[in-house]
């Protein structure tokens, strides 16, 4: 069975959003209003610092899981790759996709706001705006990457 592992490296689980687009939980055309609920549901489960977030199964049967670690992209990617290698997981059945959204002023302000006490609410608004902006990118990147993998099989 094919498995897709999504990795992101910021304080917000972008990989979970991308995975939810792939599984059909979120639409792939526009950012839905309920995204904030999904985000907070993820946060409630303490989905951070490398904890796995099980997203679900895509319509084609692909299992989707997401990982995130704040400012730890290199280490997280290396850990996942090498862990799969030492356990002889077949790379043809497992695809690792890094979610690297384009950086912008909103991302910078959101991260800055989250660092400042009492500015958390502002940070969350920035976060929502930023995700709205990069939503098409998330949808496109995850779909394209996985189609590429299928075409090579």
């Amino acid at each position: 069975m094919n498995t897709l592992i999504l990795i992101s490296s910021c304080s917000f689980p972008l990989s979970a959003v991308a995975g939810s687009i792939l599984t059909g939980e979120l639409p792939d055309r526009h950012c839905p209003g309920k995204i904030r609920e999904i985000i907070f549901a993820c946060e409630k489960n303490r989905y951070s610092e490398g904890r796995m977030c099980w997203i679900g199964t895509a319509p084609d049967g692909t299992r989707v899981a997401a990982f995130t670690a704040r400012s730890g992209r290199g280490i997280l990617v290396n850990l996942v790759n090498s862990f799969l290698e030492i356990n002889n997981i077949d790379k043809n059945c497992c695809r690792i996709v890094e979610i690297n959204p384009p950086a912008g002023l909103r991302l910078f302000l959101w991260r800055l706001a989250l660092e400042i006490p009492l500015a958390g609410r502002t940070g969350k608004i920035m976060m929502e705006k930023y995700i709205e902006k990069i939503y098409p990118y998330l949808a496109a990147s995850v779909k394209l990457d996985w189609d590429w993998q299928i075409s090579h099989n």
Partner: protein
Amino acid sequence: MKIIYHCFGGTHSSVTAACIHLGLLPRDRVPGCRELLDQKLFDRREMSDIGKITFVGRDGLGNEVYVVGRRNRPKLLCNVAEGLSVLFGIKHENLMLVDVSSYVSPSMRAGGFMSRRMGLVAIGRPLVTWGTIRNYRRLAAAVEKVLSEITRTREKAPGKKEGNAAASITPEAAC
């Protein structure tokens, strides 16, 4: 079983512990500088290798010994290992994570920083080697604990399911 020794950079204390485990370095005496520097991974790994789980060897019991650097984020390693084990149905009892970062002395830290981060190998390497030699007995004792734990687990439950998810052993501090 896969035994993964982990520390900040994955190139000093974890490599030393792995070499002691495999018998590449002595358990009953403190080695000299040359013996330590002859280990191919000691003070050799780069910052880009952080997070790469590297195979060091196989011990007498057939266990595979690995090292990895994970900066100051042991939880990240534990969580990733646990999550991927669940995702791919890897048996938890086949994995042991051993945190040896508590055996890193200030001299090792300073030497490692100079050698690996700043590229001042000529100053950093002797300093980190000296620090490792000073801490060697503590590291050897930690490895002994790991070995006795492995032996006890094997004797206790041959073929039985036992252990926690990505069973973590830290002789002094839990992962």
